[in-house]
């Protein structure tokens, strides 16, 4: 693995970050409104709030997103992999493709009726939306595995379990992790939605609360915290992908 490539990537992240900050700063100068404070003001607010309660909201939000994605993945991945078998696919595929294009956020009333308004229903709503993204990707990948891999395995005396373990799962893993990485963005968007009502904890709540109090530095500090949450989850999943699927990056 050439080191230069990774260093190059790190630098481009730093430059992109700086560019964003500059644009933000200029915009705040031009608008000259309390509704768009300068990055430095927000930074101080972020540090300040972190010392008091922001870290707690961040932690709660992080857990909700992580549990949501983990719940979705633990159901969608085995289900998606099972579609390699035609018999399972004939049942699963039509259901998935009927339900996939529906905006799943409409399940909210149903979920609240079934699971209440606590953390569980928030996590489940995140999970439902991410579930379909991971399932569809996993299924597409599992359906595209070359039959030569399977014939090779069978001639080595493999059982169906061996085939799942040594072929289907590793062949689909890069696509699964990419789908999970992409789903982070969706999960955070849903997180904001589910935290904007019926809770007094979480970044979504903090954003709505700061907004209603017209505490703009705190509002932006919460937004930045949410962005950082998404970015770190994305990076973590990318690292996992590079670690587990090293063969893709040769």
């Amino acid at each position: 693995m050439p080191r230069g490539k990774d260093e190059h990537r790190t630098w481009s992240y730093i430059i992109a970050g700086l560019l964003l900050l500059i644009v933000w700063h200029l915009a705040s100068l031009i608008l000259d409104s309390p509704a768009l404070p300068a990055p430095l003001t927000v930074f101080y607010a972020l540090i300040d709030r972190m010392r008091t309660d922001l870290y707690l909201h961040l932690l709660i939000s992080a857990l909700r997103v992580i549990y949501g994605i983990a719940l979705a993945g633990s159901l969608a991945v085995p289900l998606g992999l099972s579609t390699y078998n035609n018999r399972f696919d004939r049942i699963i595929a039509p259901i998935v493709y009927l339900l996939y294009p529906i905006p799943h956020i409409v399940f909210l009333p149903l979920i609240i009726l079934l699971f209440g308004i606590g953390d569980l229903s928030k996590i489940i709503l995140i999970a439902i939306i991410v579930f379909f993204q991971i399932l569809v990707t996993t299924r597409d990948e599992a359906r595209n595995i070359s039959s030569n891999y399977i014939f090779s395995m069978l001639s080595l005396g493999a059982t169906p379990m061996d085939i799942y373990r040594h072929v289907i799962l590793p062949a689909c893993l890069p696509a699964i992790l990419t789908a999970m990485r992409i789903s982070v963005g969706t999960a955070i968007a849903v997180l904001f939605f589910v935290e904007s009502f019926a809770t007094q904890r979480g970044l979504g709540y903090l954003i709505m609360y700061s907004w209603s109090m017209m505490d703009y530095p705190a509002l932006y500090a919460s937004i930045v915290a949410m962005a950082l949450l998404g970015f770190s989850l994305y990076l973590i999943l990318e690292c996992v992908e590079r670690k587990l699927c090293a063969w893709v990056y040769l």
């Binding site: 070359s146 030569n148 891999y149 014939f151 090779s152 069978l154 001639s155 080595l156 005396g157 493999a158 059982t159 061996d162 040594h166 072929v167 590793p170 062949a171 893993l173 699927c245 090293a246 063969w247 040769l250």
Partner: protein, 257 residues
Amino acid sequence: MRTLSGAANDSMIEARNLSMVYPDGTEALRDLNLVIHRGASCSIIGPSGCGKTTLLFILAGLLKPTKGQVLLDAREIVSPTRGVALILQDYGLFPWKTVYENVALGLKLQGVRKRERRAIVMSLLKELGLSEFANHYPKQLSGGMQQRVGFARALALKPEILLMDEPLSSLDALTRETLQNFLLALWKNNGMTMVLVTHSIEEAVFLGREIIVLSRRPGHVVKIVENFNAGDENYRSKEAFFAKCREVRMSIEHGAI
């Protein structure tokens, strides 16, 4: 001694009245009969799409014929057996496994212990000149080296029969000759039974003591060309080799009509 005309009980693989019709209606084989003797080296050749691969997959126990049966040592083959190894042209290696893991896989699936597995794989890799690539992924190797890993994986299980589906067809001419010599040595030194499906007449003549010529689809045996001179690396440049190639070509063309 390797003789073509062994006694009847000397036959190792016997295909009886094999017919294969795929669900989509394609008739790949019709009433194909075939005997392969223990220790034989046998090339299967025919016009493209003649059901060569189908035949090989049936012999390997991976496909069930619509009619007829395959006997291995007088027992019917219905599923892959350990004594029969299959080598495919492409995609046989798993890109997500290292060279070592690829070669060790069959042993692992058969429940061979880790230490024993390691000993077998390392000595095999050494034999094939792949030791220093044990931790490489297939993608990092040349085509010829990848195919050698494929051979290593099949040989790890110490098979009695090696079934090969155009194993060398995607390689350049020089690598191809090297690996042909390698296969020849393998056959001569290990007393293995080899069945090679190929679309190259030269390869069929160089490696097969028997050359089974199949007809156009639905495939059946048109002719078995005996080729006693095969087994020598220098055969390639001899007049007898070219004469045999012409004979095989004529048989194929005859079967294609």
